[in-house]
Symmetry: C2
Subunit: 120 residues, 2 copies
Amino acid sequence: MKKFETHTSTCPIVHTMSYIGGKWKPIILGRLLNGAVRFGKLAVQIPDISRKILTEQLKELEEDGLIIRHSYSEKPPRVEYELSEIGQTVIPVLMAMTELGSKMHEAITQHKRSAARAHR
Amino acid sequence: MKKFETHTSTCPIVHTMSYIGGKWKPIILGRLLNGAVRFGKLAVQIPDISRKILTEQLKELEEDGLIIRHSYSEKPPRVEYELSEIGQTVIPVLMAMTELGSKMHEAITQHKRSAARAHR
DNA sequence: ATTGGCGGTAACGTTTATGTAACTAAAAGC
DNA sequence: GCTTTTAGTTACATAAACGTTACCGCCAAT
């Protein structure tokens, strides 16, 4: 079994969280799973994110090399983002998180109902 | 292939992040993989977390039903935390994150070196 | 020359997460 | 009833993340 190191600067989990953690990065990455998507489409598909934050997160992901930015100088300018090779490696984690999220959410909702019932 | 929903309140990834996201929760959960651990030991094993935050995060994990708190009224009081059944379900994600973290960190470090070299 | 779509940036404000220091509770042994 | 150990809590402060609003730069079509 893998070691779960403690020392903050060497723990692999800490690294993972620093690259794909935060409120929006996993969602953005999830949107790029099926190929390149342009900026405007991302903004529409993730309605609750502000454009500023979207730009910011995309820039961080690009700096870390998880995504690639393609800028086409066209009639209306077009900018697309797609997963890089490094970015592809996060797919299993995204899948595991998706898998877990739906199951766990039900279980926890259930758990909280019981807990609420219990302390009455 | 799984759907990666967008709507913030239904996206499974968002749920996952809300339960095990944040700076410390994945680390704490990682420490509980091999069975119950007492409060003091957690504090020692995760040196950079303050006791207040540790308490706080443990309480949240307990409220969500991911961990179980056992309090023994003994000579020096003893409190142990262990993964619940729900908590066990996050193990695959933790493993995937660990797996990813070490590989990706190297790749990204490498990538950033090249990027730095490029813009000189 | 002006308008409209796209992909931003700048200045500023708010919220949420995390941190520090000092204090408390409970029980066993003396 | 005082001390020691463990596991907290309270009050306060700081930092990191996120959000809002308004504006900029480019180009093609009118």
